[in-house]
Amino acid sequence: GIQVEQSPPDLILQEGANSTLRCNFSDSVNNLQWFHQNPWGQLINLFYIPSGTKQNGRLSATTVATERYSLLYISSSQTTDSGVYFCAVDRDSGYSTLTFGKGTMLLVSP
Protein backbone atom coordinates (compact mmCIF):
# COMPACT_ATOMS: atom_id res chain seq x y z
CA GLY A 1 0.00 0.00 0.00
CA ILE A 2 0.91 3.65 -0.17
CA GLN A 3 3.40 4.97 2.39
CA VAL A 4 2.95 8.36 4.07
CA GLU A 5 5.89 9.87 5.93
CA GLN A 6 5.71 13.01 8.00
CA SER A 7 8.57 15.09 9.28
CA PRO A 8 9.68 16.14 11.75
CA PRO A 9 8.10 13.71 14.23
CA ASP A 10 8.29 16.29 17.02
CA LEU A 11 8.71 20.04 17.05
CA ILE A 12 8.99 22.59 19.84
CA LEU A 13 8.47 26.27 19.05
CA GLN A 14 8.46 29.51 20.91
CA GLU A 15 5.21 31.41 20.52
CA GLY A 16 5.41 33.70 17.49
CA ALA A 17 7.78 31.47 15.51
CA ASN A 18 7.05 30.05 12.06
CA SER A 19 7.28 26.40 11.09
CA THR A 20 6.96 24.05 8.13
CA LEU A 21 5.69 20.48 8.38
CA ARG A 22 6.29 18.05 5.56
CA CYS A 23 4.36 15.07 4.21
CA ASN A 24 5.87 12.72 1.63
CA PHE A 25 3.89 9.97 -0.07
CA SER A 26 5.09 7.04 -2.09
CA ASP A 27 2.62 6.97 -4.98
CA SER A 28 0.25 9.19 -6.90
CA VAL A 29 -2.82 10.27 -4.94
CA ASN A 30 -6.25 11.61 -5.73
CA ASN A 31 -6.53 13.64 -2.57
CA LEU A 32 -4.56 14.86 0.43
CA GLN A 33 -5.92 16.21 3.70
CA TRP A 34 -4.27 17.85 6.72
CA PHE A 35 -5.72 17.47 10.21
CA HIS A 36 -4.96 18.99 13.60
CA GLN A 37 -5.63 16.96 16.75
CA ASN A 38 -5.74 19.17 19.82
CA PRO A 39 -4.60 18.01 23.28
CA TRP A 40 -8.20 17.01 24.09
CA GLY A 41 -8.30 14.61 21.16
CA GLN A 42 -10.50 16.52 18.76
CA LEU A 43 -9.50 16.13 15.11
CA ILE A 44 -10.13 19.12 12.87
CA ASN A 45 -9.82 19.06 9.10
CA LEU A 46 -7.48 21.91 8.17
CA PHE A 47 -7.13 21.50 4.43
CA TYR A 48 -8.49 19.40 1.61
CA ILE A 49 -5.69 19.95 -0.89
CA PRO A 50 -5.02 17.45 -3.71
CA SER A 51 -2.83 20.05 -5.43
CA GLY A 52 -1.89 23.71 -5.35
CA THR A 53 -1.84 26.12 -2.42
CA LYS A 54 -4.53 27.12 0.06
CA GLN A 55 -4.50 29.55 2.96
CA ASN A 56 -6.63 29.75 6.07
CA GLY A 57 -5.57 32.52 8.43
CA ARG A 58 -2.09 31.84 9.77
CA LEU A 59 -2.03 28.40 8.18
CA SER A 60 -1.34 27.56 4.58
CA ALA A 61 -0.68 24.35 2.69
CA THR A 62 0.92 23.45 -0.59
CA THR A 63 0.71 20.11 -2.36
CA VAL A 64 3.01 19.27 -5.28
CA ALA A 65 1.35 16.10 -6.46
CA THR A 66 3.86 15.42 -9.26
CA GLU A 67 6.69 15.37 -6.71
CA ARG A 68 4.63 13.53 -4.07
CA TYR A 69 4.83 15.90 -1.15
CA SER A 70 2.82 18.45 0.75
CA LEU A 71 3.87 21.21 3.13
CA LEU A 72 1.91 22.79 5.98
CA TYR A 73 3.05 26.26 7.03
CA ILE A 74 2.23 27.70 10.42
CA SER A 75 3.06 31.38 10.84
CA SER A 76 3.18 33.37 14.08
CA SER A 77 2.48 30.24 16.08
CA GLN A 78 0.25 30.36 19.16
CA THR A 79 -0.05 28.00 22.10
CA THR A 80 -3.40 26.86 20.72
CA ASP A 81 -1.55 25.46 17.70
CA SER A 82 -0.10 22.74 19.93
CA GLY A 83 -1.17 19.19 19.19
CA VAL A 84 -0.57 16.59 16.51
CA TYR A 85 -0.75 17.36 12.81
CA PHE A 86 -1.70 14.46 10.55
CA CYS A 87 -1.39 14.21 6.81
CA ALA A 88 -3.61 11.66 5.05
CA VAL A 89 -3.88 10.64 1.41
CA ASP A 90 -6.40 8.81 -0.73
CA ARG A 91 -5.29 7.05 -3.92
CA ASP A 92 -8.70 6.74 -5.50
CA SER A 93 -11.91 8.61 -6.12
CA GLY A 94 -14.22 5.71 -5.46
CA TYR A 95 -14.73 3.58 -2.37
CA SER A 96 -11.17 4.00 -1.14
CA THR A 97 -10.17 5.44 2.23
CA LEU A 98 -7.47 7.66 3.70
CA THR A 99 -4.02 6.43 4.66
CA PHE A 100 -2.66 8.46 7.56
CA GLY A 101 0.91 9.41 8.34
CA LYS A 102 2.19 9.01 11.90
CA GLY A 103 1.84 12.70 12.59
CA THR A 104 4.00 15.59 13.77
CA MET A 105 3.63 16.52 17.41
CA LEU A 106 3.93 20.29 17.88
CA LEU A 107 4.38 22.05 21.18
CA VAL A 108 4.22 25.84 21.20
CA SER A 109 5.49 27.34 24.43
CA PRO A 110 4.58 30.82 25.66
Binding site: Y48, D90, S93, G94
Partner: protein, 114 residues
Protein backbone atom coordinates in the same frame (compact mmCIF):
# COMPACT_ATOMS: atom_id res chain seq x y z
CA UNK B 1 -24.19 24.04 12.99
CA UNK B 2 -24.06 20.84 11.02
CA UNK B 3 -21.81 18.41 12.75
CA UNK B 4 -20.81 14.91 13.80
CA UNK B 5 -21.90 14.06 17.34
CA UNK B 6 -20.60 11.20 19.44
CA UNK B 7 -22.04 10.03 22.72
CA UNK B 8 -20.94 9.50 25.34
CA UNK B 9 -17.66 11.44 25.55
CA UNK B 10 -16.28 8.89 28.03
CA UNK B 11 -17.40 5.30 28.43
CA UNK B 12 -16.30 2.79 31.02
CA UNK B 13 -17.12 -0.87 30.56
CA UNK B 14 -16.08 -4.10 32.18
CA UNK B 15 -13.96 -6.76 30.58
CA UNK B 16 -16.23 -8.92 28.42
CA UNK B 17 -19.32 -6.73 28.85
CA UNK B 18 -20.82 -5.62 25.50
CA UNK B 19 -20.74 -1.91 24.81
CA UNK B 20 -22.24 0.28 22.11
CA UNK B 21 -20.93 3.64 20.98
CA UNK B 22 -23.13 5.97 18.99
CA UNK B 23 -22.60 8.57 16.31
CA UNK B 24 -25.02 10.91 14.59
CA UNK B 25 -24.53 13.45 11.86
CA UNK B 26 -26.50 16.42 10.59
CA UNK B 27 -24.34 16.84 7.47
CA UNK B 28 -26.38 14.37 5.42
CA UNK B 29 -23.16 12.76 4.23
CA UNK B 30 -23.23 9.47 2.39
CA UNK B 31 -20.20 7.91 4.05
CA UNK B 32 -19.68 7.21 7.76
CA UNK B 33 -16.50 5.79 9.27
CA UNK B 34 -15.34 4.33 12.57
CA UNK B 35 -11.72 4.76 13.59
CA UNK B 36 -9.83 3.46 16.60
CA UNK B 37 -7.00 5.58 17.96
CA UNK B 38 -4.57 4.48 20.64
CA UNK B 39 -2.14 6.71 22.45
CA UNK B 40 0.51 8.36 20.23
CA UNK B 41 -0.79 6.63 17.11
CA UNK B 42 -2.64 7.70 14.00
CA UNK B 43 -6.34 6.82 13.70
CA UNK B 44 -6.88 3.29 12.41
CA UNK B 45 -9.90 2.62 10.22
CA UNK B 46 -12.14 -0.19 11.46
CA UNK B 47 -14.93 -0.04 8.86
CA UNK B 48 -17.08 2.34 6.91
CA UNK B 49 -20.49 2.58 5.30
CA UNK B 50 -21.00 4.07 1.88
CA UNK B 51 -24.72 4.67 2.20
CA UNK B 52 -25.91 1.17 3.20
CA UNK B 53 -22.90 -0.67 1.82
CA UNK B 54 -20.72 -1.95 4.66
CA UNK B 55 -16.95 -2.14 4.14
CA UNK B 56 -14.88 -3.95 6.75
CA UNK B 57 -11.12 -3.51 6.98
CA UNK B 58 -9.31 -6.83 6.64
CA UNK B 59 -7.64 -6.60 10.05
CA UNK B 60 -10.67 -5.43 12.05
CA UNK B 61 -11.36 -8.06 14.76
CA UNK B 62 -14.66 -9.94 14.64
CA UNK B 63 -15.33 -8.55 18.10
CA UNK B 64 -16.19 -5.23 16.44
CA UNK B 65 -19.50 -4.80 14.63
CA UNK B 66 -21.33 -1.83 13.22
CA UNK B 67 -24.85 -0.83 12.33
CA UNK B 68 -26.16 2.05 10.26
CA UNK B 69 -29.97 2.06 10.57
CA UNK B 70 -30.37 5.30 8.60
CA UNK B 71 -28.33 8.09 7.01
CA UNK B 72 -27.92 10.01 10.26
CA UNK B 73 -26.90 7.33 12.74
CA UNK B 74 -24.12 4.79 13.02
CA UNK B 75 -23.25 2.51 15.92
CA UNK B 76 -20.13 0.65 16.95
CA UNK B 77 -20.73 -2.54 18.95
CA UNK B 78 -17.91 -4.22 20.81
CA UNK B 79 -19.22 -7.64 21.72
CA UNK B 80 -16.66 -8.68 24.33
CA UNK B 81 -14.27 -5.85 25.13
CA UNK B 82 -10.77 -6.76 26.16
CA UNK B 83 -8.19 -4.59 27.87
CA UNK B 84 -6.56 -4.02 24.49
CA UNK B 85 -9.72 -2.38 23.18
CA UNK B 86 -9.29 0.62 25.46
CA UNK B 87 -8.84 3.52 23.06
CA UNK B 88 -10.40 6.63 21.60
CA UNK B 89 -13.10 5.75 19.07
CA UNK B 90 -13.69 8.34 16.40
CA UNK B 91 -16.65 8.59 14.09
CA UNK B 92 -16.22 10.53 10.87
CA UNK B 93 -18.21 11.40 7.78
CA UNK B 94 -17.57 12.51 4.23
CA UNK B 95 -20.02 13.64 1.58
CA UNK B 96 -18.62 11.14 -0.89
CA UNK B 97 -15.47 9.03 -0.50
CA UNK B 98 -12.37 10.76 0.85
CA UNK B 99 -10.90 10.79 -2.64
CA UNK B 100 -13.51 13.39 -3.49
CA UNK B 101 -14.47 15.17 -0.27
CA UNK B 102 -13.13 16.23 3.14
CA UNK B 103 -13.35 13.99 6.19
CA UNK B 104 -15.11 15.41 9.26
CA UNK B 105 -14.56 13.88 12.69
CA UNK B 106 -16.72 13.82 15.78
CA UNK B 107 -15.22 14.58 19.20
CA UNK B 108 -14.65 10.92 19.94
CA UNK B 109 -15.57 8.52 22.72
CA UNK B 110 -12.77 7.47 25.04
CA UNK B 111 -13.37 3.88 26.10
CA UNK B 112 -11.93 2.46 29.30
CA UNK B 113 -12.09 -1.29 29.97
CA UNK B 114 -11.78 -2.36 33.60
Amino acid sequence: DAMVIQNPRYQVTQFGKPVTLSCSQTLNHNVMYWYQQKSSQAPKLLFHYYDKDFNNEADTPDNFQSRRPNTSFCFLDIRSPGLGDAAMYLCATSREGTGLSPLHFGNGTRLTVT
